[in-house]
Amino acid sequence: MAKPTQLKEEGNRRFQAGDYVMAEALYSQALIADPSNPALYTNRAMARLKLSQWDSAVADCTACLALAPSNIKAHYSLSQAHLALRAYDDAVTHALEAHALSAKAADKSLGTITAHVLKCKKERWDDAEKRRVREVSALEREVMELLRREREVAVREAGGDGLGGDALQREVDEEWEDKMLKMREVFEKARPVEEQKRREVPDWAIDDISFGVMVDPVITKTGKSYERASIVEHLRRQPTDPLTREPLYAAELRPNLDLKQACEEFLEENGWAADW
């Protein structure tokens, strides 16, 4: 039988070539021989993500995290699987975990993970919004139906005693027509159309490099804040402050915690802005 490392390398080659079925099988074989290697679990999880096998990808990531609790890839893959399974809170939690670990390790994946955090938040917000709209429109149908029935009863009762019934019926009918119209206006006002108009992202929440809403703002010596992933990428190319061109090193960046919290709060209320 081949050695686990050979199986893993062959699996990686198959993965690179896009043959995820074969890659998954090879990683599985390797795991039989070496069940305590965290990298084998994350590799198989990535193959399983490609194959849309979300539940088994979750199992692999969980197994990996039991062995190596701060494995960036495991948190990242786990978040992707949860997102596909619409477990939005779990997706956000593990995306943030992966982000924190990646930032700490100055890992190359920071940009990708930052984008993924925003994507998770956006999808979570979209889902909540969709549910809210669905609930409101179901309620609207129900209320209108109740009113329509009440109206029928009221009109019928008004015409009951025959004398001058027609005029009274008309009066009651008009009264109800008015009530229903007003009710419809109330629902109309509550529709999210209003929100669309106000959809502007405040400048303080925007990173001047990526133009996205900041997930992890860091502040420079000159007092300007940027998204960590963006500024780190720039400093890798050129260690200067983007505004003043004075020397600046990644180690000199400090987290801007108040701004981070403000951005988080803004996104909670305005999830659409995550991919603005």
Binding site: G111, T112, T114, A115, D208, I209, S210, F211, G212, A229, S230, E233, H234, R237, Q238, T240, P242, L243, R245, W276
Partner: protein, 155 residues
């Protein structure tokens, strides 16, 4: 950097400049996130540039805005190449801001256009860069790979 980083940022820039641009700058075409065309005018009465419109071609790589875009003037029947000691007659621009050293990722298409407007406005020399003819004949490099010698940074 993650895939689509440049496209995402350019999408946002486009959204902004399609609704408003400073005077003298106009978006001509931006059908993709690789190449945009813009027109610029010099607004004051500098006789070298009065009543002329110049066409700029922006080319963006996948690493924009970490790396600068490539920006050149292009010539059309009604769009000449402006005369300037930092603009070669083939449209290549020698501007610190567009070079590897002078670029900063907080710059953007709009700010580049404004810098070029003011580079023209501030000029009074009716001349091309020294060695223009030789450069235009011999150059086969992409503008951003050229190591310009910034001979007179005060222009």
């Amino acid at each position: 950097m993650s895939a689509g980083f440049a496209a995402k940022r350019l999408g946002k820039e486009l959204q902004k400049i399609s609704t408003s641009l400073p005077p003298g700058i106009e978006l001509v075409t931006a059908e993709n996130f690789e190449e945009w065309l813009l027109d610029i005018k010099v607004l004051d009465s500098n006789p070298l540039y009065e009543n002329e419109t110049y066409r700029l071609k922006f080319r963006f790589g996948s690493t924009y805005p970490i790396e600068p875009p490539e920006v050149v003037f292009i010539q059309l029947p009604d769009r000449p190449i402006p005369i300037h000691p930092h603009v070669y007659s083939n449209g290549i621009i020698c501007l610190d801001l567009l070079g590897q050293q002078g670029w900063s990722p907080v710059q953007n298409v709009e700010s580049i256009c404004m810098s070029l407007q003011s580079m023209l406005t501030g000029n009074s020399k009716n001349e091309r860069p020294p060695g223009d003819e030789d450069f235009v004949r011999a150059n086969r490099q992409r503008p951003k790979d050229i190591q310009f010698y910034y001979h007179d940074n005060d222009v």
